[in-house]
Amino acid sequence: MILSKYPFVVQKEIINTMNHLDLLLLSFVSKNMKKLIMSSQRKTSKSIESIDYQYRRTDGTCLVYLLDEINPLEEYYKPSRTIGNIIMRIVKRDEDENNNVQFNVLGKMIDFRFDSEYKYPIASYREWDKESVFQSIHNHFLDVFGNSIEYHWVEQFWRYDEDFFVPFIPKLRNVSFNIGMNLDGHFSDVRNFENFFSSSPVMKTITLEVKKKMKPLSPGSKFYQAEYVYIDTPRINGPNFVRHFRGRQIGLNCNEYRRSKLTDIVTRWKSGEAFQNLEYAQIITRHSPQYLLPVLDEIGAKFIDANRQPPTHAVYSLFSWGNKNRTWPLTSHRYIVRETDNRVASVNVRLGTFLIGVWDKTEEEFLRMVE
């Protein structure tokens, strides 16, 4: 059967019925096949939620997942990425391998292996050529699946202790980076930490494990431009990494957080001086949670009649490894109002956790939602 003998409309119809993995494999067959796929791109990429690179820093292996409508992102703790979603594995080249075939990926010859054990292709790179292999493969995905879908880079096993671990952040277009860092050793020096962010693209999600006391970051640090930040530091007091945050959601799990710092966050939000983009904040303190309740009075929280049912605030969050989960449902009779635009935020204290959930509503609109 000669595919090219079909009229173009039929070729496109065939392409439209193929699954994403088969399309990817077809795209490696020839430039003309890739062009054909690109001409049907809008239809083929319609069902794709995202393409996720899950990079395992321990051995440099990257699994590429394609999440589509058939396997939507799920609720808390349910894995969003399964073996069935993998469309490629990118590994460090084993020099003994000799069953590779080479494909021209946007002008770069890349080694691939097709193993009966896996249904997806395995691409390999040599350390000196690593970034360029990732770039070519990513640009190929952009061509085949388009740039209207989300591309995520997610780090795996970053919590393993290794003092001088520096995340691998290849320069890839249209990619949201979700990284994790142990602030121990190298990065416990705030200068190294700052330098890393200043030379990297703006991150989507940053998860930190802080093990040593650190000096504050400069207010202009690119760290604060991340949309989602989660800081885990259960053994020491929370570092002052929240004050200049400009993203949407922040979580802090610490041993103790000073009361004055907490009131400062709320005061600055209320005055419109900072946290303009904030959607959700969650601050957990292991010790002295008893001071949290009085904070609600100090910040001038307003009350909703106890007999009435306030609305529940919950938003999607990327705190957890780039997996889209919902935040804790926040239902509170207390709220605060931002002076500059009359926006409302529900506030509450629960099990040693201070919660702020910002509504896309003015006070009037918010009160109309109260039953």
Binding site: M1, S4, Y6, V10, L26, V29, S30, V101, F103, F114
Partner: protein, 188 residues
């Protein structure tokens, strides 16, 4: 199923054995039309079954043929092999007035037959059958490596495509030059 008769398009076809009629048969008698392929075997098909084909449906709409006129003027599809047209007619009869199922397992498994069927179905504009056929063609390469896909669908390499393109350009250039020379000759 439709009945067929070897011979020319003018040969009188036998009575069709169409798909079983539903209990509530329409009061108005159904009209029939006649089609034949390359082999000149005439197939009698109901207008209801032919509705699957946008091309034929367009041709017979407002035609107002009597039975005799229809019999005397079968639609010729000389570009479609007889056995392929038979498959198409069978499919149209089987799915007459019924919602089409999501899968169709009765399509030919042989590559060449499927190839011809796809071309015929595309020509006759039978959307649902084309979708089934294209799925079947796509299934041929499911889970295959790029090299296997190349072999199954006989896809040329980049070098072969480039050579063919060069050749086509060269040919087009020659033809254009020939036309120019001919035009100049005419002008004289």
């Amino acid at each position: 199923m439709s009945s067929t008769e070897q011979g020319t398009s003018s040969a009188a076809p036998a009575e069709p054995t169409t798909a079983p009629e539903s209990a509530a048969a329409p009061e108005v008698p159904e009209s029939f039309y006649y089609v034949h392929g390359k082999d000149k075997v005439v197939h009698k098909v109901s207008a209801g079954a032919l509705q699957h084909s946008a091309l034929i449906h367009g041709m017979i709409s407002n035609l107002g043929y009597t039975e005799e006129q229809a019999k005397a003027n079968p639609f010729p599809f000389e570009n479609i092999d007889g056995d392929i047209l038979q498959m198409v007619v069978d499919w149209c009869n089987q799915h007459k007035g019924k919602p089409t199922p999501p899968e169709d397992t009765n399509l030919p498994k042989q590559k060449e037959k499927l190839f011809d069927l796809v071309l015929a179905v595309n020509y006759l504009e039978i959307k649902e059958l084309l979708t089934y056929c294209c799925k079947q063609v796509a299934m041929m390469v499911k889970g295959k490596s790029p090299e296997e896909i190349r072999e199954i669908w006989m896809i040329p390499t980049d070098a072969e495509d480039e050579a063919a393109e060069k050749e086509a350009k060269k040919r087009a250039g020659k033809e254009a030059a020939g036309e120019t020379a001919a035009a100049a000759g005419d002008a004289k």
